[in-house]
């Protein structure tokens, strides 16, 4: 784990779960898996606080536990999962584009709570949707349930590992921690529930009191009213599936930019057909025959079979090898190459930083080196059509940043410097890792800057919140416009401007964080898939 990753994890935990959880997470990340009492000793927190923090972290799958042979339980932080917190908005937005508002809220609730049972999730989402509907209307559970089932069928959500169900004999002492497990095939099976009901709207004033009192009465009457039918079955978001979706999106847009809209639609169809049949980490989709592709094309695209075949041939012949031809049965079978290969998709997108940081000419040199692998100084100048002096300067700057490296090729066995070739080359993996490290550092810096801005203006923010609260209560009691205006005047003009500036800056920083996270995704996927290559 690099320092940059550690710092970023730390900031993410602190922002979303508070400082106590941050302390515990930090300790686990920096020192490795440890049992509870060592953790309490290292963090200096109260044992109860540490236990609470661990419960929160385990609930959100950020920490896992393992029973050691000697009987104690060790906790280990999952750094890569913590970094995913950055990507939550993207997951939620994707769910919205695919499954609409119920889908969006389901994914959001599951992310906010770590894992939930289906009945709980459906109830919460129905309530939230009912809030936003017009008076008198409520959201029925059935619609939310059906969206839930669709999410499970397309593997966007999955079941959590379950507590072992086999009853133990009373003699054997219970293990210190349950061993949770789930079979692959059970992961997406939705329990047969008949969830009947409608979303409840939060009533105002008097009715709220009744509702509260009823709930209190229920609580006092002995805890849980009745165990829900799907007790023990919890669901969580399947992040890998979302990543697969993002990758497909990137592929499709790359095809679209390289060729035309129709070919990108063809590739999109092929990918959609193989969504659930492709194992994660596979380099190619399953072969699809062109007949199948033809049948699955979206309704709007009425291109003939011949035209489709032509498109497929074009795609297969393309040097970037998006699509490969794997056979001739059924009119020709094709696969989509989804590995971020050496000649793969993300490279033009992946290294825009060389363009923005060093300039577009540097980017040109960089792309040249990527394609030609090894070039001498003179050749670089010639191919890139850049004057020698500038080319030298750019190369050295990239060299000092470790984006390019020098390779020596001796002409003579004694490696005499005057008789050796010095070739510039790009070591793609090293460059990718270096860029990724920089990305983590950037996001951490952005977050710190944002927190700094909020801290600097804390007094002003609190004041504006108070004024808003006063305004709201006054409006509820029906004050006149003059009185409202007077209260608004409590925030002076310059202060208002300061607030505006603050809001704009914070929004800009937030948007930048989202942007950098996109780059992080591409780089991480690239590194991960390249390392998996046999």
């Amino acid at each position: 784990m690099t320092q940059a990753e550690l710092r970023l994890c730390s900031l993410l935990l602190q922002e979303h779960f508070g400082e106590i959880v941050e302390e515990v997470g930090n300790s686990l990340l920096r020192t490795g898996p440890r049992p509870l009492r060592l953790l309490v000793g290292d963090t200096g927190l109260l044992p109860d606080q540490v236990k609470k923090a661990l419960c929160v972290l385990i609930q959100h799958s950020l920490v896992r536990y393992e029973v050691q042979p000697r009987g104690c339980v060790e906790y280990e932080a999952r750094s890569e999962r913590i970094l995913r917190i950055l990507r939550y908005p993207r997951y939620i937005y994707t769910a919205k584009t695919l499954y609409g508002d119920p889908g969006e809220l389901l994914v959001e609730e599951l992310l906010l709570h770590g894992h939930l049972s289906m009945s709980c999730a459906v109830a919460r989402v129905a309530d939230r949707l009912t809030e936003t509907m017009e008076d008198g209307k409520t959201m029925d559970y059935s619609e939310v349930s059906s969206t839930f089932v669709r999410l499970a069928d397309t593997h966007f959500i999955q079941r959590c590992p379950m507590v072992p169900a086999n009853p133990r004999s009373a003699k054997a002492p219970p293990p210190p921690a349950p061993a949770l497990a789930i079979a692959e095939k059970d992961m997406y099976i939705v329990p047969r529930l008949s969830l009947v009901g409608k979303g409840k709207r939060r009533h105002s004033c008097d009715e709220e009191e009744e509702g509260e009192h009823k709930a209190k009465r229920q609580k006092q009457e002995g805890g849980t009213s009745k165990t829900p039918p799907d007790d023990g079955i919890y669901w969580q978001v399947n992040l890998e599936r979302f990543h697969q979706h993002f990758r497909d999106q990137a592929l499709v847009s790359a095809v679209a930019s390289r060729m035309d809209q129709t070919s990108s639609e063809v590739v999109r169809t092929m990918l959609r057909m193989s969504e659930v049949t492709t194992a994660s980490g596979a380099s190619h989709t399953q072969p699809l025959s062109s007949n199948e592709i033809f049948r699955s094309l979206p309704a709007g695209y009425n291109i003939g079979k011949q035209v489709l075949d032509q498109y497929l041939a074009l795609l297969a012949d393309d040097p970037l090898e998006f699509v490969g031809k794997s056979g001739d049965s059924g009119g020709g079978t094709y696969t989509v190459s989804i590995l971020w290969g050496e000649l793969g998709v993300p490279r033009p997108e992946t290294f825009p930083s060389s363009g923005t940081v060093f300039g577009s000419r540097c980017a040109r040199i960089f792309r040249l080196l990527l394609r030609k692998k090894h070039l001498e100084q003179k050749q670089v100048e010639d191919f890139a059509m850049i004057p020698a002096k500038e080319a030298k300067d750019m190369l050295y700057r990239m060299l000092s940043e470790n984006l390019v490296s020098l390779q020596e090729i001796p002409k003579t066995p004694d490696h005499a410097p005057s008789r050796t070739f010095y070739l510039y080359t790009v070591n793609v993996m090293a460059a990718a890792r270096m860029l990724l490290h920089r990305c983590y550092k950037s996001v951490a810096n952005l977050m710190e800057r944002r927190q700094h801005e909020m801290r600097e203006n804390k007094r002003l923010l609190e004041k504006s919140q108070r004024v808003e609260a006063i305004l709201a209560s006054m409006q509820a009691t029906g004050a006149e416009a003059a009185q409202l205006h007077e209260v608004e005047e409590m925030i002076t003009g310059p202060e208002r401007q300061q607030l505006e500036t603050l809001k704009r800056n914070v929004s800009k920083i937030d948007a930048s964080e989202n942007q950098v996270d996109e780059t992080i995704f591409v780089l991480e996927s690239f590194i991960e898939s390249t390392m998996k290559k046999p």
Binding site: H16, V163, P176, P178, L180, D510
Partner: protein
């Protein structure tokens, strides 16, 4: 050694191969660490806007705000004051115990993590239930009236409530009705009590002015 001082600087390899030609001046040696904020040579590309970007931005800010309110956001306990202050009685303190505010499924967690919840008030559930309706109506009204901030009625309802509390003699729902509990000791309404701490900076400003 040989070559020292003669020529600009002799390297073991042919510098021309790397591109430094004869007569070119090398940059001066660096004598200090690089500046903290190096000058930006070119502006960064503008952020992509658009509906998607805007929506994700709103989502991000909303998520941050929401997570602060969830029980998973572990707040440190209230710091112990060195001296007991008068205003402590009137401040609504957060629950000091370290009990978990949400109910995890304990079957899925290691046993050592289970915190024993202090059962202060749970024992009283039985006698409370039959009398719920009567008292709760009154306190419901009190709550409603309080939120509308009608002073006179609050005072009268408080008196009634005080009598009832004395009659029944039990603490009901401390967490929910902390305000009333405090108030039963005084005639003053808590929400009107302002201990002046929140107006710190303003009062400081006034203090700077000379007093004639």
């Amino acid at each position: 050694g040989r070559g020292r001082g003669r020529g600009r600087g002799q390297m073991t390899f042919n510098v021309e191969a790397v591109g430094i030609g004869k007569g070119d001046s090398l940059p001066p040696p660096t004598l200090q660490p690089s500046p903290l904020f190096p000058a930006l040579e070119r502006r960064a590309a503008p952020l992509p806007g658009g509906e998607e970007g805007e929506y994700m931005l709103a989502l991000k800010q909303e998520l941050r705000r929401a997570m602060r309110g969830l029980p998973y956001f572990v707040k440190p306990g209230a710091p112990r004051r060195d001296i007991e202050r008068y205003s402590d009685k009137y401040q609504l303190s957060s629950p000091l115990d370290s009990a978990i505010d949400w109910n995890p499924d304990w079957r899925r967690l290691p046993r050592e993590l289970k915190i024993q919840v202090r059962r202060l008030r749970k024992g009283r559930t039985a006698p409370l239930v039959p009398k719920q309706h009567v008292t709760l109506d009154k306190e419901e009204t009190i709550k409603k009236l309080e939120s509308l901030e009608k002073k006179e009625e609050e005072v009268t309802s408080e008196e009634e409530e005080e009598k009832e509390e004395e009659e029944e003699g039990k603490e009901e729902e401390e967490e929910e009705y902390d305000e009333e509990e405090h108030e039963e000791e005084t005639d003053y309404v808590l929400s009107y009590f302002d201990n002046g701490e929140s107006f710190g900076p303003d009062s400081d400003d006034n203090g700077d002015e000379a007093v004639y």
